[in-house]
Each structure stands twice: as structure tokens, then as C-alpha cells.
Symmetry: C3
Subunit: 211 residues, 3 copies
């Protein structure tokens, strides 16, 4: 396995773990689901973004599905959440931080994999963002919440920014690994600004279901 | 580019613009989302149907994703909605008309593209309808509404009718462009009858969530 | 057509019929939809799982879409529900039994088809479970319910168990048909235990939407 594939795999697996933990803790905290529901929501959250990405670039079966390491890491994240969740689930912040970690790593890995498949530069940026927001969007749809990508100003934006940096660095011939770390850090930083903002300003936006 | 491809592209792009505007105005009116949320819902609504179509016929990456014009037109629709939306969003009718325009054009373009990929006649009709209702269904799922395709008697029906006319005309060897315009007009006409009916008879159907 | 393909087709078609009936009756009972909405929800429920399966293994266009028999059987299930539904829809049990039948048959057919496409043993089990839970998950998302796969302890588990038996039997060289029937019966039995348990213990789990 060459360095570039290894980088992609490492980003993907850490992001998968973060999203599995995030989805499972959300299941405990918000939807009060039982163990199987908690693990299932964790799996969907962890694997959703990568599956959408791989369907789009016709890399089927999806890596997140055909490679046992993704399944194992996602299951591990869910099991950690089930084991330690009851001690963590009052804490809203860990869930938001884990989600931001997953968002950042998937924005980068999505853009890198799209570049490998030669889909065009703008498309690589968009595909990175879709990979990043896909899991959380699926998570929120499954538990009946408006997806965070629609609710928060700073969710799609940092994902696009992270993916953009990856694509620009690639075009400039910069080495992959430092560019990936920098892009993920940028995405994470912007997202955490958004989280901080949202925490201070409780969102009153309701849905007018009759409209 | 031959005439047939050009026709398909024109139908697709106008439909994409209409759905982007529709999705973004819906985000403003119904879900009270912020700018990024408005643009995102517009993009999802505009690109959803075509992506599902292209996944089904294995035309990957999806045209709506790999061709920058779709992305540009969808973004433009969202920006128009953000700019002029505050002056339009009390008007329920523009949203319904735009949705009917998108529905009609996508029913036709979906059926035409399916015929190009030789998926069978019944399948071409169904695929046209899926392309037509896909974006609006995704839009409604994302904001937590029962999708209009389930709520309205005349949403799937006009889409199927439009796609059926395209397939019949193709089998009879009729020229593509007039057939496409006629099929779209038929779909639009039936749908607007449904809208008029729905406007006069406010739907009381609620969901019994405990059932 | 060889025996193995015939077995797969039979399992798929009976499962499709059961899920179409289940989805359509659910539309009548829970969401109070009109005829077109009832048929549409039946089609989505019946075809959803198989479509996801075929996208994952890159068997496109999806069999459930390109083969007219799936469409015909799904439509038939919906029409039966529309015709006899008003006499059945107070009965919660028929819906749950039909859903369990579809779950069991799709767990088996999903795993069998995955084995045909050589996706790996663990993946075949997972793919069987995804095929089984896919239709019901889509059904619940469309009508705004938390999907049963998240709500019920015994929904993903029996699907995984049924698919696991299929994969083990295949590895041991057991004949397909008896293994398939046994696996489906096991899945159905575990699921019905879950249904009985759920019926006796009304689930108080609500969603805290503000969390």
C-alpha cells in the first residue's frame, strides 16, 4: 500500500470511529434508543457519507462496506458509546466535537478520493463536502431532526473549505499528508467556531409544519 | 452535441433551476433556515432526482454532479431565492408552480435518458416518474414533512403521464422535441389541477405517530 | 434459469409482495394517505431494500427496477391493500406479520445474491441485513416515524441471524433451498418474539427534539 492510500485509509478510519461514537451517543442522548438502535444509528452515521461518495464515483461495492476494517471500526465506536455513554450523555459538547472531527476528516478523505478518480476539481470539492455532511445528515433524518447541514450556518462551509484546501494543495503539487492535516484543522476550527456560536445563541428556529 | 442530447440538457437545466428555486423558497418559507441552509436545500432538491436516475441506470458519476452546469444552475437558483425570497415567500403559489415545472421537465428528461440507456419501456416510464418526484421527496424528508408524492393524489400521476407520453411518442417515431414539450405540458396541466384542488380543500390529514 | 436463480427470484418476489402489502396498509393505517399515496408507499417499501442491495453490489440497473415482475408484484400488493385495507386496517398484527415475512425473505435473498457477487462473508451477512431492513426504514422515514430498525431490539438482530445462517450453510456446502427456508424461518421466529414483546410492553420512548 503506498503512502497516499495509507493516508486516505487513516483519515477514513479515524473519521469513521468519530462518527460512530457521535451517532451512537446521539442515539442515547436524543432518541433514547435501546442497545441495538444505538449501534445501528452509529453504523449508519459512520458509514453513510463514504457510501454516498463511493456510489457517486462508481467505486462499488463501497469501500466502507467491502473493507472489513470500516465495519469493525464503526462497530467499535458504537460499543464504546454503549459502554461509556451513560457517563457521557449529559455532555452535549463531546458529541459536537466528535461530529466536527468526523466532518473534517471526511471532507479531506472525500476530496482526496475524488481526485484519485479524476472527477474534476469543482466536483472534488463538492464530493468532499458531501462525504463530510452525508453521515450526519442521514443520522438526523433517521431520528426525525432537521439535518444539521440545514440548521447550522457553519457546517457545509467548513466542509467545503477543507475540501477546497485539499484540491488547491494537490494542484500546487504540495505533499499530501501535511496538506490533509492542515485542511482538516481548518475545517475543524471553522466548525468549532460555529458550535461555540450555536451554544451561545440557542436556536429558536422551529418548523411550521402546516405551511 | 446532437439535437437529442441538447434537448435533454435543456430540459434538465431548466428543471434544475426551477427545483433549486422551489427548494430554496421552501427553506425560507417553511423551515425558516439561514442562508447556507437555504442554498443547501435548494441544491439537494435540484440535484436529487437526477442523481437517483443516474444511479439506477449506472450512469456514474451522475451527470447532475459531474457536469459543472448543473451545479452552477442549481447554485444560481438558490442565490435568486436568497436575493428575492423575502419579497416572495408569503406567496405559496410560486413555490407550487416552480415545483410543477421541475416535475414536468424531469419526468420528460428522465424518460428520455432511460430510453437512451435501453432499460425497457415500462422501466423508462417509472424512471421518468422517479426522476420527477425524487428531488421534492428528498426536500420534504429533509425538513420533516410527509413527501408531497405521498400527500397529493396528483403528483405521481402527472409524472407518470408525462413519462408515458414520451415513451409512446418515441415508439411511434415522433420527433423528440415536440413530443417532449407536449408531454411536459400535459404533466404540468394535470399537476396544476391538483394544486388548484389542494388549495381549495385544505388537507386535514395528520399523522398518528403512536400508531 | 437454474435452481439457484429461481430460488432467489421466488424469495425476492414473495418478500416484495409482503412488503408492498405492509407499506400500503401502513399508509392507510398510520398516515391516512389517499390511494396514490398508499400505492406509492407500498412500492417504495417493497422495492427499497433490493435497490439499496443492488446499488451496493453494482448490479445496475437494480433487478427490482429492471425486471417487470418486481414492479408488477409490488403494484399488486398495493392494490390488494387498497381493496381490502379498509377491512384490515384496525388490525395491527397483520402489518407486523407481513413486515416480518418481508424481513425474513429479504435477509435470505440479500445474503444469497451477495454471495453470488463474491463480496466477502461478513459483507454478505451485512448486505442481507441491509436488504431486509432497507424497505421498512425507507417507509418509516417517508412517513416521519423513527425507523423500526432503531426502535426495536429485535429487528436488525433476526435479519443478521437469517443472513448468517445462509452464509454458514453456503460455506458448509449445504443445499440452497432448505438452508434458505430454515434461515428465513429462524429470522421470522426471532422477529415475532420481538413483536410479541413489543405488543405486551407499549414502548414509551419519545424523542426529545430540543436536545
Amino acid at each position: 500500500m503506498d503512502t497516499s492510500s495509507l493516508l486516505l485509509l487513516a483519515l477514513d478510519l479515524i473519521g469513521t470511529f468519530a462518527f460512530a461514537l457521535d451517532g451512537s451517543l446521539t442515539a442515547i442522548r436524543v432518541a433514547r434508543l435501546d442497545v441495538v438502535g444505538v449501534l445501528t444509528l452509529g453504523m449508519f452515521t459512520a458509514l453513510g457519507g463514504g457510501i454516498i461518495r463511493d456510489v457517486f464515483i462508481d467505486s462499488l461495492p463501497p469501500a466502507t462496506f467491502s473493507d472489513w476494517r470500516y465495519l469493525a471500526v464503526a462497530a467499535l465506536g458504537g460499543l464504546v458509546a454503549v459502554t461509556f455513554g451513560p457517563h457521557m450523555h449529559r455532555l452535549k459538547l463531546p458529541i459536537l466535537v466528535l461530529d466536527a472531527v468526523g466532518l473534517s476528516l471526511f471532507a479531506v478523505s472525500g476530496a482526496l478520493k475524488a481526485l484519485d478518480f479524476n472527477v474534476g476539481l469543482v466536483q472534488a470539492v463538492i464530493l468532499g463536502a458531501i462525504t463530510a455532511v452525508g453521515g450526519g445528515t442521514l443520522r438526523d433524518m433517521l431520528i426525525g431532526r432537521i439535518p444539521v447541514v440545514l440548521r447550522s450556518e457553519l457546517y457545509a462551509i467548513p466542509a467545503l473549505a477543507g475540501a477546497l484546501v485539499v484540491v488547491i494543495a494537490d494542484q500546487l503539487g504540495a505533499p499530501d499528508a501535511p496538506a490533509a492535516v492542515g485542511a482538516a484543522a481548518l475545517c475543524f476550527g471553522i466548525r468549532m467556531l460555529g458550535v461555540r456560536f450555536d451554544l451561545n445563541v440557542p436556536s429558536p428556529r422551529g418548523i411550521d409544519r402546516d405551511a
